[in-house]
């Protein structure tokens, strides 16, 4: 177990190394001046140039520059933005919680919806249920989410007026930001209108969560259905059935544990896709997360900001993938067995 954990950590180390090398090389690949890309300061005059170049090791070899770059990353000195001159590190970690929040709620929602539907669809007793769930999931799978988002806004926000069209919280509520996670902040703050603020935050969350969850839900439904079908047909489940277990016990003790293993794996694989979709969703709903922030940075050619955003998003995907892998290993004794020659 520890051995496995250690191997995963070393994998994380090497991936991080690769990504930092790539992000560092972007300094040279972006069209503007190298020193501007590194520091984020535009139009450097000649007097300052030498001082700043000294700080960023520009006169030394590329390797020294790289190690200096990594050192600054660890210190939290990620340069400043071209546009407003504020620290990129602060900006990134101010918008990141909103994205994590959205992604986690969407995954949670899809998990809660997809697993029971997948199990229902896997049962042989109701073929019509299977067919209708599968049809729904194919519709969800093939529908582009930017279109789905606009459609939902048209119906539920503009037509029915149930949910707000954009944003994270109505402007009339002033919530002091401490952790960046909105629900946590509201609960921790000492304001009089807590329940109203919570309700408003929830209303803002509904549409983006639903849109973002559409893709993982459909994938999970299909994975769950197939793997439950396979598991319920194995000899050990049938043998357990003959032991006299009820259908509920059968599902709880043998079906779910074996059937959900591929689902966990699938979640890990699709986390990257979910983050990509989160960027699209954030732009449409003007959700103040890292996705819309990064898209703004790209529009404005804010090169230091693009580097920072890239680093954080890829780091988030790696960490999540490795967490899902560890989760898989905890549930599957067979995965623990293959100690060697496997990552």
């Amino acid at each position: 177990m520890l051995n496995y954990f250690y191997r995963k950590l070393s994998l994380l180390f090497f991936i991080t190394f690769g990504v930092t090398v790539f992000v560092f090389s972007l300094n040279y690949l972006f069209p503007t001046d190298v020193l501007s890309n590194m520091s984020g300061i535009t139009n450097i005059n000649e007097i300052d140039y030498d001082v700043i170049a000294q700080k960023y090791n520009l006169n030394d070899s590329v390797f020294t520059q790289y190690f200096g770059f990594v050192g600054r990353l660890l210190d939290g000195d990620w340069g400043v933005s071209f546009i407003n001159g504020t620290s990129i590190f602060n900006q990134v970690f101010r918008v990141l919680p909103a994205t994590i929040e959205l992604a986690i709620y969407a995954l949670l929602y899809s998990f809660i919806i997809a697993i029971p539907l997948g199990i229902l669809a896997s049962s042989d007793k109701h073929p019509w249920l299977d067919k209708s769930i599968l049809a729904l999931s194919i519709i969800g799978f093939s529908m582009p989410i930017f279109w789905l988002a606009l459609l939902l806004i048209l119906i539920f926000s503009i037509g029915l007026g149930w949910f707000p069209t954009s944003g994270r919280l109505s402007l009339i509520y002033n919530i002091p930001s401490s952790s960046g996670f909105l629900f946590l902040d509201i609960l921790r703050s000492n304001i009089d209108y807590k329940s109203e603020a919570l309700a408003d935050a929830f209303k803002h969350l509904v549409l983006p969560t639903f849109v973002l969850a559409a893709y993982p839900t459909t994938v999970l439904i299909r994975t769950t259905r197939q793997s439950m079908k396979d598991v319920m047909n194995t000899s050990y489940v049938k043998a357990a059935k003959i032991k006299g277990l009820t259908s509920g016990q059968l599902l709880r003790r043998h079906g779910l544990r074996n059937g959900l293993l591929p689902v966990i794996q699938m979640l890990g694989i699709h986390f990257g896709t979910v983050i990509t979709l989160a960027i699209v969703t954030e732009v449409i709903f003007a959700w103040p997360g890292i996705g819309s922030w990064l898209v703004d940075a790209i529009h404005q050619r804010d090169y230091p900001a693009i580097q920072g955003g890239l680093l954080v998003i890829s780091g988030m995907v790696f960490v999540a993938t490795i967490l899902f892998d560890l989760l898989y290993m905890i549930f599957d004794p067979l995965a623990r067995r293959h100690g060697h020659g496997k990552i």
Binding site: D124, N233, T234, S235, Y236, V237, K238, A239, A240, K241, I242, K243, G244, L245, Q249, R253, H254, R257, N258, L261, F331, D332, P333, L334, R337
Partner: protein, 338 residues
């Protein structure tokens, strides 16, 4: 009252373009606490009969029977859930592939524990748990596993095939069933333990009045203690009757061939480099069954009438399907002693 009474059991495999009859009109009956052997080559449908009996086949198989009585209850006329209850309370099975019948993600103790019946243990929660643990340990000791602690905490992939087999046996006898179906229970065990297991089953049969269907292709392990023997070939029960009758005067040429093909090391007149007897040919696949008697092409004394399927006949309590039943005694006389 009969323990089991089956008439005209058909098992069909439904494929996309055709249905294949895997087992055809098998009749089978057992008295209470009887030991019945089911013998045949691999692929002859022995395991299918057993699996159909406990309802383990998936919905690609269609099982039909004119009569399916278990301890006087008609299983055919019961609802699905009632039938499942009757079967799980009274019948248990030792499977052929032990490791595939154990859940790979839960440990041995929880799997063994769940095969204990609920009603047997009374008392408050903690005491009940203690009793169940003790019972599980006793069961493992019974089948010859001494390190119960180690085995309880292991997962199936950590254990050898033989130990998995023993665990399956422990699970099967846990609820002291009225009928135990043992599908080649001793194939993956060492000779010593296999004898012990058979002894254990024998004693359960005598003390707890447990009926046993013993499926095997090893004749020696069955002739010494089975009350009756059923021989299957190509999905048909070709001969069944009391063990001593079958040994002394098999009516069907296939039964005789089965007995003859077992080399006889006891008799004095075994010559050096003597050719061992074997029936010519191989068992046909179910898609390419011969017309008429299924043994026809391989049968040493096939004649013209064998192109027609022989009906089941009964002579002195011995059922067989053959146009020309054998009259003489078999060459090997050592079966009498067994």
């Amino acid at each position: 009252m009969r323990l089991l009474d089956i008439r005209n059991l058909n098992i069909e495999l439904i494929t996309n373009d055709s249905t294949i009859k895997a087992v055809e009109s098998a009749n089978f009956s057992m008295k209470m606490a009887e030991v019945s052997g089911l013998i045949g080559e691999s692929g002859s449908g022995k395991s299918l009969v057993a699996k159909a009996l406990v309802g383990m086949l998936n919905n690609r198989w269609e099982v039909t029977a004119d009569r399916l009585h278990f301890m006087g209850q008609d299983l055919n006329r019961m609802s699905e859930s009632k039938r499942r209850k009757v079967i799980s309370d009274n019948i248990s099975m030792i499977y052929q592939e032990p490791r595939r019948c154990l859940d790979p993600t839960s440990n041995i103790f929880s799997q063994l524990e769940e095969s204990l019946p609920d009603y047997e243990f009374s008392g408050w929660f903690g005491a009940k748990k203690e009793l169940r643990l003790k019972k599980c340990i006793r069961l493992l000791h019974k089948v010859g596993i001494k390190e119960h602690e180690k085995v309880f905490n292991s997962y199936p992939h950590m254990l050898s095939e033989g130990i998995c087999q023993k665990i399956m046996i422990a699970m099967a006898i846990a609820k002291e069933p009225k009928l135990l179906i043992a599908d080649e229970p001793t194939t993956s065990l060492e000779a010593d333990t296999s004898l012990k297991v058979i002894k254990l089953l024998k004693s359960l049969n005598q003390l707890k009045e447990m009926g046993v269907i013993f499926i095997t292709h090893n004749l020696f392990s069955i002739t010494s203690w089975a009350d009756s023997i059923n021989v299957m070939y190509c999905g048909q029960l070709i001969e069944s009757g009391l063990t001593k009758n079958i040994i002394n005067s098999p009516k069907h040429p296939y039964t005789k061939a089965l007995f003859d093909s077992e080399p006889d090391f006891n008799s004095r007149d075994a010559n050096n480099k003597q050719k061992l007897y074997a029936l010519k040919g191989t068992i046909p696949t179910l898609q390419h069954l011969p017309i008429g008697c299924r043994l026809g092409p391989r049968c040493p004394n096939a004649q013209r009438a064998c192109v027609k399927m022989p009906e089941q006949q009964k002579v002195k309590g011995q059922f067989f399907r053959c146009h020309y039943p054998l009259q003489q005694k078999p060459l090997n006389n050592n079966w009498k002693k067994a």
